[in-house]
């Protein structure tokens, strides 16, 4: 049986080739001990049985990400008979870099030159015979979706598997002297059979953390590390950082190959031209802010009439249900002015808002713009010394912080990952959006969207600043690099957007029917139980909940909250949506509507500070559980809670008091 490994950059058409080769003979699972998907399959060609494994898509074979480690360990340890490197003919420079790294490993390589149609559309003509000669390996031109080149690839796999003698060396110019010296030392020590010694020498010079760790553990590892230090001392002055020197040397070779094998100047493609504008150094961020503003404006205005209709219908329903149980106390608890239906109804009336936001986000994701937004934020983060990979969890956090925390799994470095986890709850999720919308609409009406946007920008800024503070104090190590893959632009599909909206929205329904309902029932029971007699009461001021709220209110007096707001924030710990439901219940908002009531009690400055508090203070209980699971430590979970409470309180305090000092209480 011939064993074949399929590898390549993400989005080069590797999966299409894998499917073309193996058809229905596939098995999908996970790589041992990892959450990365493993696909393997079989097929027969000219009587030869061929086993294919689809390795994770990678841009290089360093040891910075799980995908890279899986791919290179498979080639090193499993030693497949043939490695097929799938490359994108319309983007040769980035793709050939990976080919050189696979050749360094000493693997028998076939290059599958996919997307030839795209290259032709971009006016690129590739001389495949010359490319074969320059690389020293077979090159198969392909258009995978049309199955063009599949037959030729199968033939080459069988031929290559029969090759016994195989040796290709990529020559790295001046660096050769250093590589040869270290290779000789490694050959003398005979440390590892599994490794190609030349590759080992290159990786040691590059300072590859995984290889260095293995050498340290090896019996004669100390000798090698000693020699490595001596070599580095001698040559580092001349070559500088070896890792950078090797990257440059590989790109020099790639440029030479392209110069000789590729004809025609690549025409500026429409997507590249558009990227030039959307990722412009100066206009990129204003475009991003404009699109974000449009998204919120659309969400707010398109959902308002539907929220109002739903709210009116729920009020009618509440009126009709009064007295339905026949038990006065239960009736009051469920359908009364301070009843659970009042709270849950207020939350449900925000379903149009949440659904519209998901719809708008899905359209943006589908168009390909979200990846560009990630690139823009990455550029800013890199300048601050932070990993750009945090962008993905941030975007996931806009939907739900639990998804954001789990999304940090894509970050390779442990330190970067912890930073991303503990700062993710500062990103406002949709649950908090519902809270902000009620308050913003009550106090700012026409400018409500601007207030919402200011909170989102504040959340992102605080998350970045906190990450920066942690990076400069607790974690001073190196950060892992991040390559943002920019997918092609496409016309967003309404069907996809509606489906996504429904899937995400139904999760909200589920939560409203379980956690939120339960939380509101507890609040309802506490609000109707007399604090001194523990019997039923209709006077919420005498209730157990009022006692709890009034005790806590002492702490929040400087922020000008009454006990009801304190209790609502307190129960927001269970789920943030509860804040708005609880506020509606505790102020008895069914008749007049919550916005009008809040306006009677508070001024805009106090409520802006309250929103900032809700934005920053403790994450919900499910997010905390996710933080505990992902950091594997109570220390970081408690740290997240504490710093967020202190930061929230401090910011709200400053907003209220500086605000009053500057413009007076009447704004």
């Amino acid at each position: 049986m011939i064993r074949v490994a399929l590898m390549g950059n993400p989005n080069v058409g590797k999966s299409v080739i894998f499917n073309n080769l193996t058809g229905s003979h596939q098995k999908v699972g996970n790589w041992p001990g990892k959450t990365v998907e493993k696909k393997e399959g079989f097929f027969e060609y000219n009587g030869e049985k061929i086993y294919v494994v689809d390795l994770p898509g990678t841009y290089s074979l360093t040891a910075y990400s799980v995908e890279e480690i899986i791919a290179r360990n498979y080639i090193v340890e499993e030693k497949p008979d043939v490695v097929v490197v799938v490359i994108d003919a319309s983007n040769l420079e980035r793709n050939l870099y990976l080919v050189l790294q696979v050749l360094e490993l000493g693997a028998k390589v076939i290059v599958a030159l996919n997307k030839m149609d795209l290259a032709k559309a971009s006016s690129i003509s590739i001389d495949t015979a010359k490319l074969e000669k320059l690389l020293g390996v077979p090159v198969v031109p392909m258009i995978a979706p049309k199955k063009i080149g599949i037959e030729e690839l199968c033939r080459k796999i069988v031929e290559m598997a029969k090759v016994k003698e195989w040796s290709i060396k990529i020559r790295y110019g001046e660096l050769e002297k250093v590589i040869s010296e270290l290779t000789r030392d490694l050959e003398k020590e005979e440390l590892f059979e599994k490794y190609n010694t030349r590759w080992l020498a290159i990786k040691l010079l590059e300072g590859d953390p995984q290889v260095l760790e293995e050498i340290e553990k090896a019996p004669k590892g100390e000798n090698i590390l000693g020699k490595l230090e001596k070599i580095k001392e001698i040559f580092e002055e001349k070559y500088g950082d070896f890792e950078i020197a090797f990257v440059e040397a590989r790109y020099d070779i790639v440029k030479q190959i392209i110069k000789k094998a590729v004809k025609g100047e690549k025409k500026l493609a429409a997507s590249d031209a558009l990227d030039q504008a959307l990722l412009d150094k100066y206009l990129g961020i204003p475009i991003f802010i404009s699109i974000l503003w449009m998204m919120f404006q659309f969400t707010f205005i398109a959902s308002t009439p539907f929220s109002n209709i739903l709210s009116d219908l729920l009020a009618v329903l509440s009126e009709k249900l009064r007295g339905a149980t026949g038990i006065p106390h239960l009736d009051y608890l469920l359908f009364g002015e301070y009843g659970v239906l009042n709270g849950i109804g207020t939350i449900l009336s925000f379903i149009p808002l949440i659904m519209t936001l998901y719809f708008a986000m899905s359209l943006l994701e589908d168009s390909g713009y979200m990846a560009r937004a990630a690139f823009l934020i990455d550029r800013a983060m890199k300048k601050l010394g932070l990993t750009g990979k945090n962008v993905i969890p941030i975007i996931l956090g806009f939907g739900c912080n639990i998804a954001g925390v789990y999304g940090t799994r894509i970050i390779a470095g442990e330190e970067d990952r912890i930073i991303a986890i503990v700062t993710n709850p500062l990103i406002p999720c949709t649950a908090r959006l519902a809270v902000f919308t009620v308050i913003a609409a009550a106090f700012w009406e026409f400018a409500a969207v601007n207030v919402l946007l200011s909170l989102y920008i504040l959340g992102i800024l605080l998350s970045v600043l906190m990450a920066l503070a942690l990076r400069k104090t607790v974690f001073k190590g190196i950060y892992s690099p991040f390559i943002v893959e920019l997918p092609p632009y496409q016309m967003p599909s309404l069907k996809v957007a509606v489906t996504q909206m429904w899937i995400r929205g139904s999760l909200f329904f589920k939560k409203a029917g379980t956690t939120i309902l339960l939380g509101l029932l507890v609040i309802g029971l506490l609000a109707t139980t007399n604090a001194s007699t523990l019997t039923f009461t209709e006077n919420v001021e005498e209730s157990l909940l009022a006692s709890l709220g009034k005790a806590l209110q002492l702490l929040f007096e400087p922020l000008n909250w009454d006990w009801r707001l304190v209790v609502a924030a307190f129960f927001g710990f269970v789920a943030k949506e509860i804040i708005i439901g609880a506020t509606a219940m505790l102020y008895g908002a069914s008749e007049e509507g919550l916005p009008a009531l809040l306006n009677q009690y508070y001024d805009p400055l106090t409520m802006y500070a309250y929103m900032v508090f809700i934005l920053v203070y403790v994450p919900c209980i499910a997010t905390l559980a996710a933080i505990r699971q992902e950091t594997g430590s109570w220390k970081w979970t408690i740290f997240t809670m504490l710093y967020e409470i202190l930061l929230a309180y401090g910011l709200s305090f400053l907003i209220v008091h500086i605000g009053r000092f500057l413009v007076g209480a009447g704004i």
Binding site: A277, D280, L283, P286, I289, W293, D312, F446, A447
Partner: protein
Amino acid sequence: MKKIILCYGGFLGILYVLYGFLQVYNGLISWGLQGDVLQLGIEIYETSIPNVFPDVFSGVALTTTGLLFLTSTYHSLKKSEYYRGYIFAAWLLSILLMLLNIVELFASFIDAYYPFLLGYKPGEWSLATDPWGIAPHLILGALAAPLYLVFRDFIRELTF
């Protein structure tokens, strides 16, 4: 043809930047800055057309659109291929802003008149009283819309 399009793009760019700055200024006035709200349009029944309602972020969006139009003209004068991307991005933003304006009018209309369907007294709404009624987003977007004829091939190439 290319020259006409770029001149037209430049003209739109100036208008977008002008109304964008006005809107940012009016927005800052509404936030407490000293001064009077400024309008640049025709007065009909005490309503300015277009109505530059105060909104800083909306002003930023208009200004950005205008700067994209102007940058495309700049790249074209430099004979750089990049002009295509800038003018298309500007056109796309102008169309999205126009659509947003239309959605806002539609939503405000429903919000005002749905109580009528439930047997209540409807609210009051008219193009003249709605700040978004006839805003720069709508008028400038309508002026930019015909450029679609120029971008058909670009859109086809983009979604290839």
